[in-house]
Amino acid sequence: MVLEAVDLNVGQTFSAVVAENLSRTQIVQYAGASGDYNPLHTDEVFATQVAGYPSVFAHGMLTMGCTGHMLTDLVGDGRLLTFGGRFTSQVWPGDDLTTTATVEALGRDDAGRPTVELAVSTTNQDGVEVFAGYATARIED
């Protein structure tokens, strides 16, 4: 998908489910792929008995990775210019995550190419925001 400026309006929103009933196994997959083997995320015994959490929880970067999936589906491959944000609440096994991107502005980059600025929010099944961020991407006229 490639976004075209003529089709976009400030305030327009796009949204997609990026995780459903998040499994401990997916968290393990992310640990293995990313190389972040912190037992807080994959080792229920350590997370509960040593660290004092109610269970393991997802890497913030897994949440951001899932969020990025929605963004690249929206703006197209290789078109992100920036992507960032804060991890605002923990993500637990069993969570459903939905990412919403809202058009904040339409502009031009230094080379005069059209761009879109997005506000990005990922929330869980209770409506609690788990990632609050932004992205900018190259689009077409």
């Binding site: 015994v45 959490y53 990025g68 491959d77």
Partner: protein
């Protein structure tokens, strides 16, 4: 992250894309990628985080022959939980014994491509403290990592903010709160 040599390999990108639940064939199917706008296999936007695999000093990977702080016969492989300054932890962002990842920001200069051999060099940024509502005193620290290709050209600039907490983040507190987090995950 400090990886002197971070080779971007097809199998690694495939596994990373699977782990974030993204079936986009531009990450796994060379023919699809060749015919697409980007022209070859690329990596997802947060993939550079996996340079941890190539950082020889990364603290959140078990070391062969050394005790690991996760569980084995006992809840922690260390005699006592390492939650103080001796805790294995990454530089800047990422979680350690009591370290959590608060923010992550990327600027993309071009897509990361399978076949790239990147270098990652990290410099420390700002450091600040806050009193948190749910985890005591919070110490934030920022780090900036530049990922460059074999020609020395910038590919991705990453800014990471890590936070160290006095105690586990309380989950019985409010679920919303001010930006002084760390209501979040490493």
């Amino acid at each position: 992250m400090a990886a002197k040599r971070f080779p971007v390999e097809a199998g690694h990108v495939l596994m990373f894309a699977r782990s974030i639940g993204d079936p986009n064939p531009v990450y796994s199917e060379p023919d699809h990628a060749a015919a697409s706008e980007v022209g070859s296999l690329i990596a997802p936007p947060t993939f550079v985080q996996a340079s941890a695999q190539f950082d020889p000093d990364y603290g959140l990977r078990p070391r062969i022959g050394r005790p690991w702080f996760g569980s084995g016969r006992t809840p922690s492989g260390l005699q006592r939980p390492r939650t103080g300054d001796d805790a294995p932890r990454p530089r800047g962002g990422g979680g350690g014994g009591s370290g959590l990842h608060a923010e992550q920001h990327y600027t993309y200069h071009r897509p990361v491509r399978v076949g790239d051999v990147l270098t990652a060099s990290t410099t420390p940024g700002k450091r600040w403290e806050k009193q948190g509502r749910r985890a005591g005193v919070l110490v934030f620290s920022e780090s900036i990592t530049e990922y460059r290709d074999a020609d020395g050209e910038l590919v991705v600039t990453a800014r990471s903010v890590g936070v160290r907490t006095e105690r586990a983040v309380s989950t019985d507190g409010p679920t919303e709160g001010p930006a002084d987090g760390p209501k979040e995950a490493g």
